[in-house]
């Protein structure tokens, strides 16, 4: 993640929940966090594209992050949020189960994602942050949003 160069050795992360696991993205990629609103379904799109929302007059696509990462589904709750991220000049909303906190983590505590070969495809991950008794999975948004890749309409 190129953003890491900005601060000396630390990165700030927005931490959120998908199911029981904790995930995070660099705060520099996050534009805003929004409560869930009406989402308009768009036909002929991949299943993980939930639809489009109205963000102050602009139409914005929204991704169901759990579907994208092949995680088990859950009904939305009071805590469900849409994180609006900007990747390569493209703003996209991601539905997450809850946003927990913003935290600073030292670069040294971030491992390569290979350590947790698990449920999520490795290419979607950019690292794993180790805290005392928690594991934070850092997401590779470029890959997840897949600008110009398989996320494109079939």
């Amino acid at each position: 993640m190129s953003e890491q160069n900005y601060s000396s050795n630390e990165v700030q992360l927005v931490v959120f929940k998908l199911g029981k696991e904790e995930y995070s993205v660099s705060i520099l990629q996050v534009q805003e966090i929004k409560r869930i609103t009406d989402i308009t379904r768009v036909p002929h799109t991949p299943e993980y594209i939930k639809g489009v929302i109205n963000l102050r007059g602009s139409v914005l696509p929204v991704i169901d992050l759990k579907k994208r990462l092949n995680l088990p589904q859950q009904v939305s709750t009071e805590d469900t949020r849409i994180i609006i991220v900007k990747v390569d000049e493209l703003s996209v909303g991601m539905i997450v189960d809850a946003v927990s906190e913003v935290m600073t983590i030292n670069q040294e505590n971030i491992d390569s994602p290979d350590v947790v070969a698990g449920s999520v495809a490795a290419s979607y991950l950019s690292g794993v942050g180790k805290l005392e008794n928690r594991l934070l999975i850092l997401l590779n948004l470029e890959e997840i949003i897949g600008v110009g890749q398989d996320a494109k309409v079939v």
């Binding site: 609103t37 308009t40 379904r41 109205n54 600008v147 494109k152």
Partner: protein, 678 residues
Amino acid sequence: MDTNQYMGMFLEESREHLQTLNSCVLDLENDPENLSVLSEIFRSAHTIKGMSATMGFTTIAELTHEMENILDLLRKGQLKASHDIIDTIFKCVDTLEQLVESVATNSESSIDSKPLIVKLKALAKGESVLPVAAKTTTKVIATEISSIELSDTEIAVIKKARAQGMQAYEVQISLREGCLLKSARSYMVMNALDEIGEVIKSIPAVEELEKENFALTFQVIVISGSEADKIQQTVLSISEIDKAVVLPCVLPAENNGQVIPEKPIEQTPKIQDEHEKTANVAVTAQPTTEKKNRSGQSVRVDIDKLDTLLNLVGELVINKTRLEQIGLTHKLTDLVETIEQMDRVTTDLQAVVMKVRMVPVGQVFNRFPRMVRDLSRDLNKEINLIIQGEETELDRTVIDEIGDPLVHLLRNSIDHGIEHPQDREEQGKNPIGEIRLIARHEGNNVIIMVEDDGKGINADVIKRKAVEKGLISQGEADAMDANEAVRLVFLPGFSTAAVVTDVSGRGVGMDAVKNKIESLGGMVDVETKVNEGSKFKIRLPLTLAIIQALLVKVSEEIYAIPLGSIDSTINIMPSDIKTVQNKEVILLRGQIIPIVRLANVLTIPESEHQQQEEELFVVIVHIGEQRAGIIVDNLIGQQEIVIKSLGKLLAGIKIIAGATILGNGQVALILDIGSLIQ
């Protein structure tokens, strides 16, 4: 000096002045004696020169400078506006355009203005009768009345000015000792005098002033409607001016006349007040300026800002709708009343914002006279271009796109429509061809027509060519009437070089024209009569950003269908649907129309969508000649919608043309009828 921040302004203004130059030189060509047009040209050239010199674009400044010299001679009547001169000036304008564009794109300009400058100089010398006796007079500060020798034409100009109630003054200007930038100061003086009047002569000549070929004094003859002391003050307001003497200019024949004032007005900056009373030269206070024929004041705004404004207004409307809901659910009558007021304001606001985006089509049209002139000269034809309705307003986005198709149509008319003068005469037509470019409103559309009185399009020839090219069969050709046949020119593949040269010629990229117009949501059609001319008619929506649409409901989802492609809406019973070759169709007024079930096309989950047993709503749509019926669950109503893009990630969904935001803040998708019915 960092001039970068002025770059945008420089470019915009230069382009504007170049446009003025273009149109004024055209006027001049038709009316070489017109002094006010000449002055307008001179002013524009002068402004460009000043701006480019300030910005450090010396090539532009040099060229305009030479142009100015010629223009000056023309203005003084020492040179006649011959074809050669007009052509050279046009070339200058073209070169200037290229130079300005190369500045805009920041590219190294490979444009060589030298030959033009040489040409201009030659023109100036060749026919000039300008006296070069200036140098000897430079050191003289004349305190008596007029010491400048005037040529006959200058006298004529002065007389003419007097007839209009203006006065000619001789202004003697002394610069302060030790003045460093003499040329700059003299330039500023000239500029200042140009503001309040018209400089018709200077001693030494302007070029000499600019080369600093003078001691500390110079003289200028200026025609102005202002008072003498006003002129004096104007000059003195420039720094490093030591002295300015304003004398009424006396024509040789008048030397013993009565117009001579009691005393020349002379003053230094320090003792201005004392002398104010003496300034009683008889001058009418008539304003000098017919020059400001520009309409209204305006501000340049980035279109992105307007889009943002439009979005914000949209948001406001949405929030207002929410407030309305709250008022209704909680039965707050006060709130509801206030919101009604707000409603009116927001509606007006929205209308105003939309209007702000509109610009007159004149912006596109005004480059055509020049194009028509050049082309008709190249082709040895005489053509009169008549432009009507240039004040008709269209959305900025449409304006930007409409230029190329119109150029195409005009070129076609000039090249293939209008005949050569002798051919026209043989047919008993006016040897001067006529092309009309007309714009006007028609309901929610703008119509632009390109009409010529040329030879028209021969339907039979078109048919034959189309059959030869295998675009249609002989049978189809025979069945066509003339109008249908002529429309064949819009077919892709019809436009090839062979067609252009051999036959009537129409068809240079006509399909490109049609595509462009249709991509703008418009239509193009042609009417023609052999030997009487052709008429191309373009119908365009007022704006691309807002369209009229019919909102329909399928299951719980709302979609918008552009009204432009809707024929009608009908109700049918499920039993009315027949099957032909495994395809569902209905019969409408004797026509077989294929049916599209929107719920299926949009892959709405079966569980959410139950088949209705009663009446079905069918929206009959068309694209070109093709028709289809779209079955929807419900019709919500007609509404103006603002078109928004779905963004890069979702680009490429065929049947969705875009999205719009409804009054309640929800996003609704706009259907692309073209791909839906294929």
